[in-house]
Amino acid sequence: MQYLALIYAEDGAGPQYDTPEFGAMMQGYANANKAFQAAGVMRGGEALQHTSTATSLRIRDGKTETMDGPFAETKERLGGFYLLDCKDLDQAIEMASLIPSAQFGTIELRPVMEINLPE
């Protein structure tokens, strides 16, 4: 079962750039990546630029409308993700608890839906 681990944190939560704590966090991410690889669950993962760089779009009456900013303006912002292929939710929780941002933010685990698209 694949799980998308969505990494949420408030602006300003967690260590500041250029501090030893920040270095430790990055090391923590490197360690998490290695652990995911070693467990054979890693299917992908990226950090995202700040929500101020986001563009949202929708199509209404056949016209594409774009908006500056994220879809939902919330205090906790999506800052990155992993796609993990785990045996069950217990393993997914065990893996996601290695993500350093869980220390100050929240990781949401969403099972990926399997759908068959028409050819």
Binding site: K87, L89, D90
Partner: protein, 417 residues
């Protein structure tokens, strides 16, 4: 009763008794909560028809399991055209074959997995409670809805959402590994204790199903002692509930009024339950792995062992609360500890410690009731009056409100004297 009514009562009784085992066996084979529930539902409907015609079979549980397996095969085949080769169908057919070869098929008891799955921390607490009562305890959705003062459709929705989540998020049907054992066991025990407390707070005028929750919780804890033996916290929880439940009949007067512990007629306590609880606590403590439930049971034991209220060993109770607070710190434990401290004579210190909890326990009725009692003892009528009023405002039970009101009125009288 008509024959059909007799039969459906009989089927309900069998389902009540064997439901957990049957669901667990089916989940094991099907890998799905939803499908297991549907299959068992099909089987109980067919039982009504077949048993009316041919009588109740020698092994109703084995009959239900077999019919449920076949119903599941049918459902899977209908849903997927190429399901003949699906692993679930093959497994069900194999099990079916194996059972038919035996006179008295053994239904493996997978209820421990079932309980751990129902109490998985990825589910909301209230959902864990409802799912455990429904799946392991075999209560109907309607009964659970009544017990928790919820509507039946809302409870039904909660249960089906939970089963869907277990499937979709792949919450595993396993007994947790050693590393997670303590935490996950604690989640199960907390669910059982929540069920007990819900029954405990129900007044005598309420639905019997609500007070019946105490028996349900005790039944679940007994089941747990059988499924995972040698766990002192399970024994501790069971002892705690037995000792509390022993006082059940003494808690209310004939008019339904609440009688506090120190005014209860100790002759009305159930000596059998007390003895069983105390013996169980001894067994648990001898394992030398103390835990919060054992400590709470030990506190309960000291209360019931006192021949008169004045003989209660409050100094020992205070020590136990100290340990409990160290092991499982919470404002509610701190509140109970302060109450015990006041009983040992340190009234002013107890009041200070209690006052420090005001922020954390502002919405907790017993905090205000206890604050009022200590203020009364200290002769602080003003604080007592305000605290009684707040406790009455927050109380959920008619008999409790009446008791608090009487205490508050008594306060006004004594001032006049």
């Amino acid at each position: 009763m008509s024959d059909e009514a007799v039969l459906s009562a009989r089927i309900a009784a069998i389902m009540r008794e064997d439901r957990g085992r049957l669901v667990a066996a089916l989940i094991r084979a099907l890998g799905s909560f939803d499908m297991a529930e549907d299959a068992l539902q099909d089987a109980s409907e067919r039982a009504l028809v077949h048993w009316a015609r041919n009588g109740i079979p020698a092994r109703p549980d084995a009959w239900l399991l077999q019919v449920a397996r076949r119903a599941a095969i049918d459902r899977i085949r209908k849903a997927q055209r190429h399901a003949a080769a699906s692993p679930e169908v093959l497994r069900l057919m194999e099990e079916d074959e194996a059972d038919r070869a035996m006179d008295a098929p053994e239904i493996p008891d997978e209820r421990l997995r079932l309980i751990f799955t129902c109490c998985h921390p990825a589910l909301e607490e209230k959902t864990r409670v409802a799912l455990t009562l429904r799946t392991v305890g075999g209560l109907t959705t309607r009964e659970i809805a009544r017990a928790f003062l919820d509507s039946e459709p809302a409870m039904g929705q909660r249960l089906s959402r939970a089963r869907a989540k277990i499937s979709a998020a792949a919450i595993p049907f396993v007994v947790p590994e050693r590393a997670d054992w303590d935490q996950r066991l604690n989640s199960v025990l907390s669910v059982i204790y929540l069920i007990f407390n819900e029954g405990w707070t129900a007044g005598p005028g309420e639905e019997p199903i609500r007070t019946g929750l105490c028996d349900e919780a005790i039944w679940l804890a007994r089941l747990m002692t059988g499924l995972a033996s040698g766990e002192p916290e399970i024994e501790g929880l069971l002892a705690l509930m037995l000792i509390a439940h022993a006082r059940h009949a003494a808690r209310f007067d004939p008019g339904g009024g609440m009688i506090p512990l120190e005014e209860q007629d100790r002759a009305n306590w159930d000596a059998g339950l007390v003895d069983e609880g105390l013996a169980l606590l001894d067994v648990a403590v001898a394992r030398r792995l103390p835990g919060p439930f054992q400590l709470q049971a030990a506190i309960g034991a000291l209360h019931v062992q006192a021949e008169r209220p004045e003989a209660t060993d409050w100094a020992q109770i205070l020590l136990l609360y100290d340990r409990l607070l160290a092991l499982a710190p919470s404002p509610i434990v701190a509140l109970n500890r302060a109450v015990a401290m006041a009983e040992t004579g340190a009234l002013e210190r107890a009041r200070r410690e209690m006052a420090a909890l005001a922020g954390a326990l502002a919405g907790y009725q017993p905090f205000h009731a206890a604050t009022a009692e200590l203020a009364r003892r200290a002769g602080d009528a003003e604080v007592a009056r305000a605290a009684y009023a707040e406790a009455i405002r927050l109380s959920q039970s008619e008999s409790e409100r009446a008791w608090l009101q009487a205490r508050a009125d008594d306060l006004a009288d004594s001032r006049r004297m």
